[in-house]
Symmetry: C2
Subunit: 233 residues, 2 copies
DNA sequence: GCAATTCACCTGTATATACAAGTGAATTTT
DNA sequence: AAAATTCACTTGTATATACAGGTGAATTGC
């Protein structure tokens, strides 16, 4: 319910960086300093620093300290190489294979690049570029969802919604996410297996059988019923 | 020196998945089970599971357990949308802006997609696609370095090598990495600021000045001098 | 038969602690 | 003056512990 302590510290650090108070390559407070400033243990402060490092915001060096990473590009002189043309020019066969698409929430690294806020929606897709049916390049795309509405215009029941259901999010958000991924018809059909009520008015209950649908949809915010379980096909 | 315990557990789990012993969506041992199996504390076992989750190999759900994620694509029916054409068709101005390139080692998620081993070299680059000078799509490319030798054919002194220097790697590996990123001429020039000996024969010592070059290059494996410090421009 | 409760298990957060090992500057020794 | 040592500080790894809260299946109550 309440925001975890390590998240609060992450937010504080990110605000300092985004507002320019802490600039690139500058040293940020150490684990012990943050721990005493926020009144938490060192391991909690460490988690904040570590997660921001994993997200590309900070850079750590054993013995030296933690620094603001250089996330903004330095060079625009770089040439953009086209792997498709290069593969073809070398006499190989080229093909591109899409390998999935999701709608997710931007983390710090993505938010900085796309100039959006952390938590804003982005469409994420992956494409494999093949040379003679061998993967040569993986391409990942993060599209600003606000600028390209209805980027997903298919029924994504082919994607196991396991990840979506287990995402941490407000219940109304989660409900919305499922709608975006599975069409209402698909959800209704799945629920029909258990002869439940229509979509969005299903009440959670427990089933003892393994490997079948186990799903609940929230009716409204504050409702005692929750979005739970995960879908197994 | 020795492989950390959490890394050993990560490797064990990954081997089970890659060999097919543990298949997709299958439940993996819980934190407590792994802890007792490997004779470590729960937090150590947790770290292995958590990092593999962050890398996209596993999927966790509070209360339920940890599962093998569905990292392989289910659908190849997806259309590949071309953001450049769409932006132009909508009457906006389109431009692409490269925002950095690195040579790094593949983690589990990349290794699976590109069908290479964890730790194999890949070239990583980012490109921002702009609509009216506003970012609309971030593109990330991971190129199998073995298939495209000399993908980087420029002198990358524009990239702060801070991250490379702090990478965990055998010293000889690290030396090699620096050579790949900074040309020998660049390193020599930088070192000349401190009037040190020629590149690759520099001995580490301590300098008390801030904000200037502080670098040491390994002479040979087993040498008592080490690769240390980080480069500040 | 259906609903509510219980219960064992699992993940998430948080603390306190310990030791290892790298860093950088000051200090001491040669 | 140069090399070696010391020392305070920092991050990395690891353990033990505690409690919160979600899950799923069994149990109980009506």
């Amino acid at each position: 319910m309440t925001t975890p302590k390590f998240t609060q510290i992450k937010q504080f650090i990110f605000e300092q960086i985004e507002s320019g108070t802490w600039s690139e390559h500058q040293r940020v407070p150490s684990e012990n300093e943050l721990a005493s400033q926020f009144g938490v243990s060192r391991m909690t402060a460490r988690r904040a620093l570590q997660e921001l490092t994993d997200e590309g915001v900070l850079s750590r060096s054993k013995g030296s300290g933690t620094f603001v990473a250089s996330f903004k590009s330095q060079s625009s002189l770089m040439e953009i190489r086209n792997i498709a043309d290069e593969v073809k020019a070398a006499g190989h066969t080229y093909s591109a294979k899409p390998v999935g698409i999701e709608k997710l929430l931007a983390d710090a690294a993505i938010a900085i690049e796309l100039d959006i806020a952390i938590g804003d929606s982005v469409y994420f897709s992956k494409i494999l570029h093949m040379q003679n049916d061998q993967p040569i390049q993986l391409e990942q795309r993060f599209v600003n969802a606000a600028l390209v509405p209805n980027y997903i215009n298919q029924d994504f029941s082919v994607i196991t919604p396991h990840e979506y259901l287990s995402k941490e999010a407000p219940l109304t958000e989660a409900t919305h996410q499922i709608e975006a991924v599975l069409s209402e018809a698909t959800i209704t059909a799945l629920l029909a297996i258990k002869a439940e009520q229509p979509c969005l008015q299903v009440k959670r209950r427990t089933w003892s059988s393994h490997g079948v649908v186990s799903l609940a949809i929230l009716t409204s915010p504050g409702d005692k019923y929750r979005l739970g379980g995960h879908l197994k096909f």
